[in-house]
Symmetry: C2
Subunit: 387 residues, 2 copies
């Protein structure tokens, strides 16, 4: 890999509501939906509601959610060379099986088009486009396995789609559902990256009665949901059965790194599960990929510690386990969560992006090469962007 | 403080169901309750059920849950000099206001007796007993403020009670309820330590349909609940209004350290709360105390990073902020969670305790003095055990 390629900035956590999807949301009368309102200043505005009982009547949405030019402008402003774009939550979760299947196929083609017709990255010797995508699977109740596998196959054949984004519901019973094994198998064989992303959080009663805007469901509910989903995947043995599965967890894995030793201890002390898995729970964290969307250098450093220590729990490890944040950094990848988290007041660059870049820059124990890896080189390798 | 005193091992997370409380649980027909069953081997057994729909018909309980001699034997076996004992969840949450008030008063007197008649610590020059306690407040719906304040006053007057244990419900609306301000005020003035402990977790549907024993609610639900409660406390401005409150979070603060930069970012980006607090959310983590019940050295090191970095967000800080795990270690305290997490097979020492001690021993960046602090000296100071 050339030094030039290593310096690319690649955003693996970047969302879009493709025009076809936005039209669908506009046509709906229940969440998820986009509705037109008039602000108190008399200005027409579209607002997005994705959850029931959403505070503040949803959030304002505009062209940054669907227009590719806006995505490219955002990328230019922040020095992002390449984005791996994914449909934002709640994906197809609310559709019937036939509708989900049709729309998955159409949106995957749309996203392929969105990416394949994007400009070439200029800051690089390779023939890399500026946009690649995560496709969508029609994972809804009553979908047949063969229908889901057809879409995995479709994604595999669309050259600019390099993975798929997945919520936590599976086909209604979560991602620890044994019925998903053929899907995991196909995804593993196709070497597609699964971007595991939250939407539902936990029950809203736990947030209490005070008006804290979106803070609690976003800051806590989202990472809790990802943590639960990944833990259930681990507990169900999916990573024993599909050890080459490439799972990328949103928001740096949420609370999973911080609770992984407690998880290992709880498993050890519970007769129902103590003998079920091949490895200590902490082993599996070394199989995961984490985006670097955690907003602080200590969080990123810790996540890389947790990935690195997984080797301690690997009986096949030939070397003396060494805790090195460099090892952990190899599985971490820069992301922005664009177009979410826009600054409240207009700024040259988005604070959320600047914070995540600064966090990468300030992790103690990461070399410049590690930082370059997290910023781009890891993604180039994971998504096979340069051969 | 003498070198001898520094070497004491103090357990700040140690539970008891006092005989009066165990009798109450035996008398009940709905959870929480203790029921008598006969095992498949024909052996009579008592089982504790504290949550609805608890898997495996609850857990076996015996004298280790109420007998002081068993507590002392456990302490001797593990080299624990002093334990700060607390009633286990769900405390008085299920009682009417009059019953909760009466029982709080009675159980606080019982616990004072339990501690005051305990032996003196031999491994020390000071007149320290082996047992101290966290009292109980009657925090249930419809309790009057004056009734709650009466019990704060009672606890303050019982010399072996040095704090109180608190669940997350408050008087029914959580700990961000402004009605609790007089209680926080009294607790702050009395310099009592509030041990914030989970019980309810989150909605059980998120754990799915697979039988994973108690793993998910214990490994994830408990820390999630603590994280939510502490975050709601921060968001409500309690720590701005009562900056000297001594809050000790169970299980090393759950997911709060790992999600604190995300929390700060979500607050910054939400118009409802962006201007509410005096400080960045991360500032308040430096005001907290965390037990060291996280089962891994990386977790403890990270938690101490997060406490230490709080000073970066303190505009009054006179010194250049230095990230030092030593600073963070001063607010972390060894705990066992005894009598929970007994080993599945008989062992000389409990694995859960050994793991937590080894974790303290292996944190990178902690000096021997820091480790001694986490093991005991921090608790001696926080609970005013040596003057």
């Amino acid at each position: 890999m050339s030094a030039t390629a290593k310096k690319l900035l690649v955003d693996v956590h970047s969302h879009v509501y493709l025009p076809r999807y936005a039209s669908l949301l506009r046509s709906r009368s229940s969440v998820p939906k986009i509705c037109s309102v008039t602000t108190s200043d008399g200005i027409p505005q579209e607002r997005l509601l994705i959850l029931n009982h959403e505070p503040s009547g949803g959030r304002p949405v505009g062209s940054q959610y669907w227009d590719r030019e806006e995505k490219l402008k955002f990328m230019d402003k922040h020095g992002i060379d390449v984005s791996i774009v994914s449909t934002a939550n709640p994906w197809l979760d609310f559709l019937s099986a036939p509708d989900a299947q049709l729309l998955a196929s159409e949106l995957n083609n749309d996203l392929e088009q969105y990416c394949s017709t994007s400009p070439r990255t200029s800051n690089c010797n390779y023939a890399i486009k500026r946009l690649y995508g995560f496709g969508l699977l029609p994972l809804v109740p009553e979908i047949t396995t063969s229908a889901a596998l057809d879409i995995v196959s479709q994604i595999t054949q669309l050259p600019h789609l390099r993975g798929l984004i997945m919520g936590t519901k599976g086909i209604g019973r979560g991602l620890d559902d044994a019925a998903l094994d053929p899907v995991w198998d196909a995804i593993e064989k196709a070497q597609l990256v699964v971007f595991l992303h939250p939407h539902y959080g936990v029950n809203a009663e736990v947030w209490g009665e005070e008006n804290n805007g979106h803070v609690l469901p976003l800051a806590l509910g989202f990472p809790f949901e990802t943590t639960i989903a990944a833990t259930r995947i681990i507990l169900s043995g999916v990573l024993d059965r599909f050890p080459s599965l490439r799972l990328l967890l949103a928001h740096s894995g949420g609370a999973l790194p911080a609770l992984s030793s407690r998880l290992a201890s709880c498993i050890d002390h519970d007769p129902i599960v103590a003998s079920r898995l091949k490895h200590d729970a902490r082993y599996y964290l070394g199989k995961l990929y984490l985006d670097a969307v955690a907003y602080g250098p200590e969080e990123l450093g810790f996540a890389s510690d947790v990935i690195a220590r997984a080797d301690r729990y690997n009986p096949q490890s030939s070397s003396t386990p060494v805790l090195s944040r460099s090892i952990g950094s190899k599985r971490m990848l820069f992301g922005t969560d664009h177009p979410f988290f826009p600054p409240l007041t207009s700024t040259e660059k988005w604070k959320s992006v600047v914070e995540n870049l600064e966090a990468i820059d300030r992790v103690q124990g990461w070399s410049q090469e590690d930082r370059d890896g997290v910023c781009g080189a890891n993604a180039l390798a994971l998504f096979n962007l340069i051969q």
